[in-house]
Amino acid sequence: MSAPSPLVEVRGLTKHFGGGGLFGGSKVVRAVDDVTFTIRRGQVVGLVGESGSGKTTVGRTILRLIDPTGGKVVYDGTDIAGLSASALRPWRKRMQYIFQDPYASLSQRMTVGDILSEGLDIQGVGTRAERLDRAAMALDAVELPREALARYPHEFSGGQRQRIGIARALTLEPEFIVADEPVSALDVSIQAQIVNLLRDLQARTGQTMLLISHDLSVIEFLADTVVVLYLGRVMEAGPSEAVYTAPRHPYTQALLSAVPSTVPGEKRQRTVLKGDIPSPLSPPSGCVFRTRCPIATAECAGTVPALQGVGTDHQAACLKL
């Protein structure tokens, strides 16, 4: 079984915010620093990390919702990181974004039908009747009744709104979707519904997906490959099976052990990290994780560890491997 071909190759992606300022004195936020990974066709890649890890910035930069400071985003053979807005346009309809907050991301003044067909309008796809037909089919796909077309977002619950957000991303039949924390604003009992829906849709359409989440079990359930970010850098990447069952980076190990189990009395071997995530305004020298790492030594301050192979398609960036 040969691996499917790459759809998106992220190479040395870097995004810094600030640094200008009226007197050139404002500090640079190193949100994403030299991030490299590959998303193969039909695969779900999970991007996991805590706040400040840069996961949302990576997702938005790949779709060019924000412009990168450096690096490449090779999409189906073309580096789209440097394309002008007009040159980017034909690429846009191949990719869609699903937002975290179903309350903030849907216009309250538009009907669901208008929200769903807006993207088709902009791309000039079909007649109005055809567009509404595609919107209705998208509602079918997310298991909402077609009557919803004439209603407004505020008439729906959080879970239903997230279904509308997903339907909006589906109408253009994109080959690539970035889903940014698609369930974290939802209640526990609703999360599982949406996670199941995302998996069914992905399995049916064979879409390629970048799934951004801080929730390790959501990634574990949906993603074929996991990329673990910390302070804008990749700590570990590999097949979900390998990363979840045999994590190699001390950060991944601590992150997995920090998730509390619902089995009472099951005190697993837990590594409680000391301290907080440092500010991306002044990340530590060398390995960015060293200030909280239980096995860091002096050499970790001097060298930025490169990603190195630790198994089949499995890499980690640590001097202590």
Binding site: A192, L216, S217, V218, F221, S240, T245, S261, P264, D276
Partner: protein, 336 residues
């Protein structure tokens, strides 16, 4: 309550809100007891009434709300007092001295223009429990015990100078400086990253053991409940639908809602197994009913896999499936 002396006893508590002329009951007749030195978790999803319960105990309800029925008895030296009947002035005295509180977002609870030191010493000075010099010493000791490095220097810091985890530690120090017998913690770890959440859970568990206080821990995170609570009460649409020791409720849940909640949080390793087997996550169908239009009968019946006709007409009363446990369900002994 497993033989502990009672600390807080909530009986028949009903809290109502008046919204556009209509009265709704986010807390609709609940009973809950916390023993001295016991951690009780109150679990529910948005709109379940868990936070309104906490605010009712603290006397911090918004203006549109009032306690319509029931009692909230706080036990102490000299007997019990009913917090539901106290005037605002008397409640203020009790908050901070006998009941500490920690909320989800430390940035909105801490005063941004006062130093951490001012805020930690304030309750001691307001309640006349210490001189300024003593208060400072106790504040330093408290910051040290919540794991804030260099505590004497931190007294002069402002909240914005601390990280999220450190702010939450400072808020816990503030809540505990008067040595209250009861701590009410409303989603204290929800806004934190998982590695920092693990630190705060470890800290609270340690403090609970050393200070022997009772804790009412309001959360939606079942993993945190399993980690630190002795007993758990599950709320749904204003009622406690199941209650008992965490170990028993989590290993043998009786209410179909509890079962559904536990099943929808895959245990580590389980999501991978389900995916390999091509199976779905266990989801609870439908959504939480609106408090404006609660069904007659059991509020969960519309989403319940076990519901029968009786569930749609008759609200289930409390049943005791085993000692120390309680469940409100007509079908509690039906097979899952």
């Amino acid at each position: 309550m497993s033989g502990r002396p009672p600390l807080l006893e909530i009986e028949g508590l009903r809290t109502v809100f008046t919204v556009r002329g209509t009265e709704i009951a986010p807390v609709n007749g609940i009973d809950l007891a916390i023993g001295a030195g016991e951690t009780v978790a109150l679990v529910g999803e948005s709109g379940s009434g868990k936070s309104v319960t906490a605010l009712s105990v603290l006397g911090l309800l918004p203006r549109v709300a009032r306690i319509a029925a029931g009692s909230v008895r706080l036990h102490g030296e000299g007997g019990a007092i009913d917090l539901a009947r106290l005037d605002p002035e008397a409640l203020r005295t009790i908050r901070g001295s006998r009941i500490g509180m920690v909320f989800q977002e430390p940035m909105t609870s801490l005063n941004p223009v006062l130093t951490i030191g001012d805020q930690i010493t304030e309750p001691l000075l307001v309640h006349g429990l210490a001189t300024r010099a003593e208060a400072r010493e106790r504040a330093i000791a408290m910051l040290d015990s919540v794991g804030i490095p260099d505590p004497a220097r931190r007294l002069a810091s402002y909240p914005h100078e601390l990280s999220g985890g450190m702010r939450q530690r400072a808020m816990i120090a503030m809540a505990l400086v008067c040595r209250p017998g009861l701590l009410i913690a409303d989603e204290p770890t929800t806004a934190l990253d998982v590695t920092v959440q693990a630190q705060i859970v470890e800290l609270m568990t340690g403090l609970q053991e050393s200070l022997r206080m009772g804790i009412l821990f309001v959360t939606h995170n079942l993993g945190v409940v399993a980690d630190m609570a002795h007993r758990v009460a599950i709320m749904y649409a204003g009622r406690i639908v199941e209650e008992g020791p965490v170990a028993e409720v989590f290993t043998a849940p009786r209410h179909p809602y509890t079962r559904g909640l536990l099943a929808s949080v895959p245990r580590p390793g389980e999501a991978l197994r389900l995916r390999r087997a091509g199976q779905k996550l266990a989801a609870i169908p439908g959504q939480v009913p609106s408090l404006m239009a609660l069904p007659t009968g059991c509020a969960f019946a519309g989403r319940c896999p076990l519901a029968v006709d009786r569930c749609r007409t008759e609200a289930p009363g409390p049943t005791v499936p085993s000692p120390a446990r309680s469940v409100r369900c007509h079908r509690w002994d039906a097979a899952a």
